[in-house]
C-alpha cells in the first residue's frame, strides 16, 4: 500500500493555495506535515480526502486515482479527523463511533458493524464511556471518540488535522502513541498536520514541510535540517539531539 500525491494544485477562487505538491507515504508510516499558519496544511489534507477538488494533479492509493471515485468509495479509503468538531445534537459514544461504519453499512448495522465498533472501543479503551453522550466528554475523550470513528471506517489512510490541538501533555502523548501503534499494527498510512514541531518529530517516520503551498522538504525525521525550519518559519532556531536521532528544535532567543 502506498499513497502518492502527484502534482496537486489547488486554488480558492483565483488565490493559489497548493502549488505542485508531490510526495509519497508508505504503508505503516506516520508522516507529519509541518508549516506555518496559512501554508496550506489543512487544504492539502482536504484535497487528499477529496473534500476539495484539486484542479491539477492526482492522489493515488495503490495506483488508483481517488479523484474519480464516488464519495462512499473515498470514505472507505480515508478516515478523517478534523481540527475542530462541534456537536450540536448529542449522540452516545457508541452511536458516534458507529457513524464511521456509514460507508460500509446499509440501513441497519450488521453483526460485523457491531463487532468492528466494539473492537475499536476496546482498543481505544473507550468501553466505559460507550453509553455516555458525547456532549458530556472532556476534550481528550472527544478526540479519541472522533479517532475511533475514523478507525471504524477501516480506512487505509488516516488523515489527522492537528490531532493534539487543545490537549494536555498526557493526552497529546496518549493520542500520538495510539496513532503510531495503530499505523504499525494495522499497516495504516497516517498523515497528520501538526503545529508542535517536536511532538510531531517524536512520533513520525517522515516529515513534509510546506510553505506557501509548496513542499520545501520531504524526507526522514533525522534529515530535517534547522536551516529549513529557519527559512520556513522565519526565526532563528537551535537544534539539540535526544540521543535517538530525533532532533529537538527550539527557538534561539
Amino acid at each position: 500500500m502506498i499513497l502518492r500525491v502527484a502534482g496537486v494544485c489547488f486554488r480558492y477562487g483565483s488565490l493559489p493555495v497548493l502549488k505542485d505538491v508531490t510526495f509519497e507515504v508508505n504503508k505503516g508510516e506516520v508522516a507529519c506535515i509541518l508549516g506555518p499558519n496559512g501554508s496550506g496544511k489543512t487544504t492539502l489534507l482536504r484535497c487528499i480526502n477529496r473534500l476539495l477538488r484539486p484542479y491539477k494533479g492526482s492522489v493515488l492509493v495503490n495506483e488508483r486515482d481517488v479523484i474519480s471515485l464516488k464519495r462512499a468509495e473515498v470514505a472507505k479509503i480515508f478516515g478523517y479527523v478534523p481540527q475542530i468538531e462541534e456537536n450540536r445534537f448529542p449522540l452516545t459514544v457508541f452511536e458516534a463511533v458507529m457513524l464511521g461504519r456509514r460507508p460500509h453499512m446499509g440501513w441497519r448495522p450488521s453483526k460485523r458493524d457491531f463487532k468492528a465498533v466494539s473492537d475499536i472501543l476496546r482498543d481505544l479503551d473507550l468501553e466505559g464511556l460507550a453509553m455516555r453522550k458525547v456532549s458530556e466528554l472532556s476534550g481528550g475523550e472527544w478526540r479519541k471518540v472522533i479517532m475511533a470513528r475514523a478507525l471504524a471506517q477501516e480506512p487505509e489512510v488516516l488523515l489527522l488535522d492537528e490531532p493534539t490541538n487543545h490537549l494536555d501533555l498526557k493526552h497529546q502523548v496518549e493520542v500520538l502513541s495510539l496513532v503510531r501503534t495503530l499505523a504499525k499494527k494495522k499497516g495504516l498510512c497516517v498523515i497528520m498536520a501538526m503545529h508542535d514541531i517536536n511532538l510531531a518529530l517524536r512520533f513520525s517516520d517522515k516529515v513534509i514541510v510546506i510553505s506557501e503551498g509548496r513542499i520545501v522538504f520531504s524526507g526522514k525525521v533525522s534529515e530535517l535540517s534547522p536551516s529549513i525550519v529557519e527559512r520556513v518559519y522565519g526565526i532563528k532556531v537551535e537544534v539539540l539531539h535526544d540521543g535517538n536521532g530525533i532532533p529537538i528544535i527550539i527557538p534561539a532567543i
Binding site: 473534500l51 480515508f78 478523517y80 462541534e86 448529542p90 457508541f94 464511521g100 472501543l121
Partner: protein, 358 residues
C-alpha cells in the same frame, strides 16, 4: 466487548418501550378526543361506534351519532394527528440539515409564503368570500388552498436554489429563508392595505390555523404526502446522523451532502406546505416536537424521526382537544393554542442550555 453490545441493546430496548408508550398515549388521546364535544359520549360508546364504522355488522346504531363522528370529529382528529406528524418530521429534518436547533418550517419561509398565497386568493378575489354571521364562507375554499400550497412550494424552490448557489451551507439556507419570509410578509401587508375589512377578517381567520376546516379529502391528501415522504426520509436517517457534526465530516463519511440537503429541503417543504394549506398556520409544533423527542430518545435519527412524528401528533391533538374544551361551546383555533407552546420551550432552552443545543 460483550458488555458494550449488551448495554447498547438495553438502550434500543428502552427506546422501543418509549415509542410503544407514545403510540398507546396517542391512541388513548384519540379515543378521548372523539368522546368529547357538544354531544359528549362515553368511551364505551366511542369504541362501539368505531367498531360499527370500521367493521360493519348487523347491529343497529344511531345514524346521527355515526354521522357526527364520521363527518365532524374524525376528520378533525385525524387531521390533527397527520398534520402534527408532518410538522414534527419536517422540523426534525430541518434542524439537522441546517444544523440549527431553532430551525423550523418558519425558518425557510414556508408559512409566510402560504399566508401570502391565501391573501392573494382572499383579497385579490381569486376566491370569493361571503360574510355569514361569524362564519367566513369561501365559495371555493380550494382556490385558497391551492394558492397557499403553490406559493409555499415556490418559496422553498427559491430557497433551495439560493442555498445551492452558495454551496448549500446551513447559514446560506437560513438567510435565504429569512429573506423569503420578509418578502412574503411584506407582500401580505401590502395586500392587506388594499383589502376590505371583511377580506382582512377572512385572512386573519385563515392564518389562525383551525383544524375544523379539515374535510376527508384534505385528510387523505395530507396523509398521502406523509406516507410518501416518510420512507424516503427514513432512508436518509443514516445520512442525517452523519450531518450532525459538520458537512466536512459527513462528506468524509461518504455522504453526498448537497443532494441530501436539497432532497430534505423539498421533503420538509411538502410536509409543511400541505397541512398548512388546508388548515392554516400552525406554529411551534415543528420546533417543539423534535426537541421533546430528542430529549427522550436521543439524537439517532432512525429513532428520532418516528418519535418526532408521534410527539407532533400528540401535541397537536392535545392542543386541539384543549381548544375544543376550555371555552366550550366556543372552539378556539388550534393555531392560537400552539402559538403559546413556544414560550415554555424557549424558557426551558434558556434555563437549561447544558446539552450544547445552542
Amino acid at each position: 466487548m460483550r458488555q458494550v453490545l449488551e448495554e447498547y441493546r438495553g438502550l434500543i430496548k428502552r427506546r422501543s418501550i418509549v415509542m410503544v408508550s407514545l403510540v398507546i398515549m396517542l391512541l388513548s388521546l384519540t379515543l378521548f378526543s372523539i368522546s368529547i364535544g357538544s354531544m359528549s359520549l362515553s368511551l364505551d360508546k366511542v369504541v362501539e361506534v368505531l367498531t360499527f364504522i370500521f367493521l360493519p355488522s348487523s347491529r343497529r346504531m344511531d345514524p346521527s351519532l355515526v354521522r357526527i363522528i364520521i363527518n365532524l370529529r374524525l376528520p378533525r382528529i385525524i387531521m390533527a394527528i397527520v398534520a402534527g406528524a408532518c410538522l414534527g418530521v419536517a422540523g426534525t429534518i430541518l434542524q439537522v440539515i441546517l444544523r440549527n436547533p431553532l430551525a423550523s418550517p418558519y425558518t425557510i419561509g414556508v408559512t409566510s409564503s402560504a399566508a401570502f398565497g391565501a391573501a392573494l386568493a382572499i383579497i385579490l378575489g381569486a376566491g370569493v368570500i361571503g360574510w355569514m354571521g361569524k362564519n367566513i364562507v369561501y365559495t371555493n375554499p380550494y382556490v385558497v388552498v391551492f394558492n397557499a400550497f403553490t406559493f409555499s412550494a415556490m418559496c422553498s424552490i427559491i430557497v433551495a436554489f439560493l442555498s445551492l448557489y452558495k454551496g448549500t451551507s446551513p447559514s446560506a439556507t437560513i438567510l435565504a429563508g429569512i429573506a423569503m419570509t420578509y418578502l412574503f410578509s411584506a407582500a401580505t401587508s401590502l395586500l392587506q392595505y388594499f383589502g376590505t375589512t371583511e377580506q382582512i377578517a377572512a385572512l386573519v381567520f385563515w392564518v389562525f390555523g383551525d383544524l375544523g376546516k379539515a374535510e376527508w379529502l384534505d385528510v387523505s391528501i395530507t396523509s398521502c404526502i406523509f406516507l410518501i415522504t416518510l420512507p424516503l426520509i427514513m432512508w436518509l436517517t443514516g445520512d442525517y446522523n452523519a450531518l450532525i457534526s459538520s458537512d466536512e465530516v459527513a462528506e468524509s463519511l461518504g455522504v453526498n451532502v448537497k443532494t441530501v440537503r436539497i432532497i430534505s429541503l423539498i421533503m420538509a417543504s411538502l410536509l409543511t406546505a400541505t397541512p398548512i394549506a388546508f388548515v392554516g398556520t400552525i406554529s411551534f409544533i415543528g420546533l417543539l416536537a423534535p426537541h421533546i423527542a430528542r430529549l427522550i430518545i436521543g439524537s439517532d435519527h432512525r429513532y428520532l424521526v418516528p418519535t418526532s412524528a408521534l410527539i407532533g401528533a400528540i401535541l397537536l391533538l392535545a392542543a386541539d382537544t384543549a381548544g375544543r374544551t376550555v371555552l366550550s361551546p366556543l372552539i378556539l383555533p388550534v393555531g392560537i393554542l400552539t402559538a403559546f407552546m413556544g414560550v415554555p420551550l424557549f424558557l426551558y432552552l434558556l434555563l437549561k442550555r447544558r446539552e450544547g443545543y445552542l
